[in-house]
Structure formats: structure tokens, C-alpha cells
Symmetry: C2
Subunit: 350 residues, 2 copies
DNA sequence: ATGAAAGCGCTAACAA
DNA sequence: TTGTTAGCGCTTTCAT
């Protein structure tokens, strides 16, 4: 199939290319012209070249989603809902994996080449350098995660502090008084906030003893490696609080290998409520951080900002929802999916 | 940050825009000019506009991956390796989710608008209509999955026939003589070939009794629903062969709810060897269909075809590898990751 | 309502 | 080696 341009359509319809363009795009044109052009376009199988349109209109109708580890189910879930929202508005989704190879700063710089109209980014680490690159980027940016309040970006974030409080409260309610927190790397945004959340939650329960370690990564393998020494120690904790589901599953495996029963000998919790949490046995008590909603809201914020670059900066927090399963409760109950409570703070754009 | 064009760079360097372009792209230019232009570009923070380059060069350096259900871990795995391969060659990845909303035919038609240089598609159903649309598309296409031999596309496929033979042989070896196959929808490509594979595998074992049912979908829930009546029946099978891991996990859950022990009362197998298979307990015996390799090879084929549109059509089959786990074996062993055997058939392009 | 022509930002002939 | 110019395919003034 050979490339057919608007010039050929115009020629076949016997009109100028300007008229052809107007006829196809709903400009001023007589019904007669419209009919002729439509017919010619159909005959030739014409479809307008997206690149030429982009150059002329100054918009690509492409948006990028930048994420470090697309292997993590949480990010897949976000990506899926982002895709749904933007496709409905005629946008295409470009995946910018900021894998180990290139730094996210490079990715942001590359985005300045104008092939996308906006960016949604889930940074694992929010560095000054990244913030500077984002601020310098000549396109709308929505950050999925925590940034300083004065950064000036539309932001959607989970609420790690509340999430940690929910799991700690739940475990204390189950009479656990000796907790261990397996965090991910603390130089990451989730790591930092989950650590802060754990400390805060603990403060509300003076009688509770707790220790904290960091897994090398937010993965099953790293969770396993971190859990093993904890569970072998003489002062084995009664409950393990993992910074995410993958680490939590690693802890479940470690307990299994040591012959410990969950939840009888040990309670375990995760965070994210990924599909994995409901698939393992016992089911992993976790906190639904609203990944799908976060993705959806991020996409909506980006589209709104593109439509109106001057609008006020929005920060949306998605409320977490504890989901109790067998890993913390002998008679596991699965509460209904809780409704999402969104706190929408508006501030005037800097 | 305001948009800076090559014209401004040229002006600042005191040369023509042609010289600026040449200096930046490695054309003929004096060292002096190159230095001046580089400096000017750096001062201004110039980055070449990708859209204008695309229009001029006739290449976008974007490739699309079209897939129906990105929620399935198999497709995520493929996407990840595709992304890795093409990013190394300077290409960007566009995700074309052919969700329930739009038919894959519409997606292919949209791709003709010229915003990508090529397409990798994982069609769930290979219809005449789809093949016609793909053939008509004015861009290189690689199909992940089975297509008629004369379709003329570069193709990477798994080998469902061998995979089914591997699980059936394995179960028969374990002395199971009464099997049940839970397929996915048989009007899908995987469904059709796994059915064929099961029939073929069965033919090699005359004494074995078997029944087949179809789940409504390749999901855990559908697998559960399909397994329940099978396991409740008087002639309950000794082993369930699921068409993929998700269905297999649904079967595990059904067995659990009916108080059946796996593998003592019932053996279960999956296909795809997704991360889920090694996370459930007992571990799900499955077949590694080489998703990552299929994605990688597909990307390589596409890049090769873009580089040389006249090259011979390639069909690559990735050899499956049985991975035995606890769901079929009392003393589960985890064999090493098997090497990939690729059968590369070459035919002259039609 | 229509056509001629400019121009989005860039690269590549072609001349000089 | 460098500058001038055409043109990728399209949309959009500006005349008519």
C-alpha cells in the first residue's frame, strides 16, 4: 500500500488542497465539496499523516509514562488506567522505561525533543537533579509520588503514612507487641515515607517493641533475604510488616522455609494489594494504595493541564484501604473494596 | 523554557542553518564551525525537534506494541524485552492496547497514519479481517503468535503443541490416567492450538482418559468457575491441565475450596510459567514458553525488516520448557532454566 | 466557498 | 567548506 497524501485526494476530487483539508476537518466547505473530497479520500484510502499534522499543529497527541520498573504489577496497573483515560481523549501512550541504563534525568531531557505533549512520571527517587530537569522540561508534568510542596507540579500520591498506621494498628489489635519492619531502600521515595509512617504509627503504641531493616530492593528475593535472619534470631518478631507485597511474599517464603506457620507463628503484611496478595496462601494482608485510581487521576490532571496550562496546581492524595487476609488473621475476612477518598488541595500555580 | 530552533542556534553561531544542521549531525563542516555551533546549541539548550526530523526523514523512530490484555503478566514480560531491544537502537515504544473498546483492525488502520515505523502485534484472535488489515498496513509488521504460513509476516511463536505434549507426558509419567483439560476460549489462537496440542499429546497415550472444557477467559476467576464442576463430579479427574497459569491458579483455588489436597488428591498444571506459578503454594508446574525471548526476537526481527524491507520472511519458534513444581510432584524439583532452542525457518518473501 | 501561498522545523540537494 | 533553496504533508491565514 503506497502512501497517499492530501494532494492526491485534492486532485482526484478536483479541488485545491486547502479545500480538501477543510472538507476533511470540518472547515467551511460546501456540501458538494465535502462529498467529493470524502469520496476521493475513501477511494484512495487516505489517512492524514500524523507527523505532518503534529508539526503543523504543534501537538503530537502523545503522552509519555516514565517508570523505573515496569515489571512491578503496581506500575502495570497504573499504566493500564492511564492508557484507558488518555486513549478516550485521542492520545497515544509512550512508555519511557527509565531502566537502570539511563537516568531519569536523561529521559526527561529527551522528552524535550517534542515528541510528546506531556509526561506522567513515577520516580523511585526524587532528587534535586530530577526536580530541576522536570522543571526545565518544556511540557506539562504530573508526578506520581511525593514531591516538595513548592515544586509546582500536579501530583498524585498515595498516603504511606496512613497505610503504615493501618497495618500497625491492625497488628496491635491482633495482640502483636513485637514487630519487625522490612523496608525497601530508604533512599527511595516510598522507602523514606514508609519509614516515616512506621515511626509515626509506632508512636501511638508505646508498649510495642519494633525493629527495622531494609531489603536491598522491593522484590521477593530481597524480601526473602532480609526476612531470613530476622526469623532465625532468638528474638524473632511476632509480625513482619513489609514495605510492599513483593517483600512480604519473600517473608512468607522465608517463614515457610524455616517451618514457621503463618499466621500462627508469625503474622505478615504487605503494601499495594497487588494481585499477588490474593493469590498466595495464606492470603497476604495488604493495603490497597489505589494504583488504578492514582493512574486515572494522574492522566486526568495531565489532560486538564494541557487544556489549560494556567490552571491551579493540584495535589491529590488517594486514601489507602486495609485489606485483611489470612496472613494476619486465623479466620480471614475479605472486606469489601473500600471507597476512595480523595483529598484535593488546590493552590495557585507558582 | 521556551522552544529553541535550529534557526536561533545558527544565528547565534553566525552561520547558516544548513551549516548548523551539518555541524550537529556530523556532516561536512569545519572544526571551527562545529565548535561554534556546538557552543551555541549548548548555550541555548537546543534539542532538535523530533517531529520535524520525522517529517523530513520519513521515519519516526517509534514502534508500536499492540496487545489485547496488558494485564496478563506474559504480555508485560514481552513488552519489557521489546522495550529493551528497541531502546538500544534508539526507538521509542508506543503501547497500543487493543482493549475491548476498539477492534484490533481499527488499531491497525490507525497505525497507517504514520506515527510509527513498525508494529509488533500479539493478537488474541487471528481473523481474516485482521490479516487483511495487517497486509494492507503500509508498515513492517511482526506477529507474535500463529498465522497462516502464506501470510507473509515475520512471526515469532510459542510451540503450544510441544508444550501440551510436555505436560501430558509428565502427568502420565506420574501415573495419572484420568485427565481434564481446561482450555481458554477456543476461538482464540492460543485456545485453538492448545486444544490441538492436547489432542495430539493424548494420541500418544491410548490408555489415558480425558475430558475437555473451556473457561470463559484466560483468568483466575474463569479457571475457578470451570474447575469447580469438574472437581465436584463423581468422575473427578486425577489431574487438571490448564491452558495457562491463571486458569491453573483458579483450579488450585477451586480444589482448595473443596478440601482437595494438591498434589495428593489432584495434580494441576499451568502454561506460561509466569511469576505467579512460583509464588503460589504448591508451586504450579508450568511450561516456560519463553515470553521474554519471544519479545526480544520479535523486536530484532522488526528492526531487521526496517533496515532491509526486502529480506526473507522469518518464522521463529521458541522451544517450550517444562518446569516441574509441587502441584504435580510430592517432592518438587526445580530444574534449571532450560536453554532456548530456536528453530529458524527461512523462506523467500512472497 | 474557494484557491494561492506561507510556514511548522528540519535535512539534503545543489551551487558557489 | 558553506549558503541558498526546495520540500517533507499538512493547516491556516489572506485574498478573491
Amino acid at each position: 500500500m503506497v502512501k497517499v497524501t492530501i494532494t492526491q485526494v485534492a486532485a482526484r476530487a478536483g479541488v485545491s488542497i486547502a479545500s480538501a483539508s477543510r472538507a476533511l476537518n470540518g472547515g467551511t466547505a460546501s456540501v458538494e465539496t465535502i462529498a467529493k473530497v470524502r469520496q476521493a479520500a475513501a477511494d484512495l484510502g487516505y489517512v492524514a499523516d500524523a507527523t505532518a499534522q503534529s508539526l503543523k499543529r504543534g501537538r503530537t497527541f502523545q503522552l509519555a509514562y516514565a517508570v523505573a520498573d515496569i515489571g512491578n504489577p503496581v506500575y502495570v496497573e497504573m499504566m493500564t488506567s492511564i492508557q484507558e483515560v488518555i486513549a478516550a481523549s485521542g492520545y497515544r501512550l509512550l512508555l519511557s522505561s527509565t531502566g537502570s541504563s539511563s537516568s531519569s534525568v536523561d529521559v526527561v531531557r529527551d522528552l524535550s525533543r517534542g515528541y510528546v505533549d506531556g509526561l506522567i512520571i513515577s520516580p523511585l527517587r526524587v532528587t534535586e537533579e530530577l526536580l530541576a530537569a522536570l522543571a526545565a522540561a518544556p511540557l506539562p508534568v504530573v508526578v506520581l509520588g511525593r514531591v516538595p510542596d513548592d515544586a509546582g507540579f500536579d501530583t498524585v500520591r498515595a498516603d504511606s503514612l496512613t497505610a503504615m498506621r493501618q497495618v500497625v494498628d491492625h497488628l496491635v489489635e491482633q495482640s502483636h507487641r513485637d514487630l519487625a519492619f522490612i523496608n525497601g531502600p530508604i533512599d527511595t521515595t516510598p522507602g523514606a515515607f514508609r519509614r516515616e509512617g512506621f515511626a509515626g504509627a509506632l508512636a501511638a503504641h508505646p508498649g510495642v517493641h519494633a525493629q527495622s531493616v531494609s531489603a536491598a530492593d522491593f522484590t521477593i528475593a530481597a524480601g526473602y533475604d532480609a526476612a531470613l535472619p530476622l526469623l532465625r534470631a532468638a528474638d524473632r518478631p511476632q509480625a513482619i510488616i513489609a514495605a510492599n507485597d513483593l517483600i512480604g511474599i519473600g517473608a512468607l517464603r522465608a517463614a515457610e522455609d524455616l517451618g514457621l506457620s503463618v499466621p500462627e507463628d508469625l503474622a505478615v503484611t504487605g503494601i499495594d494489594d497487588t494481585p499477588l496478595a490474593s493469590v498466595v496462601r495464606p492470603g497476604l494482608t495488604s493495603v490497597d494504595m489505589g494504583a488504578a485510581d492514582r493512574g486515572r487521576v494522574a492522566a486526568e490532571l495531565l489532560l486538564a493541564r494541557i487544556a489549560d496550562p494556567q490552571r491551579a496546581v493540584h495535589t491529590v492524595a488517594i486514601a489507602p484501604q486495609l485489606v485483611v487476609r489470612g496472613s494476619t488473621l486465623r479466620s480471614a475476612t475479605s472486606p469489601d473494596e473500600g471507597e476512595i477518598v480523595a483529598i484535593d488541595e488546590e493552590r495557585v500555580a507558582g
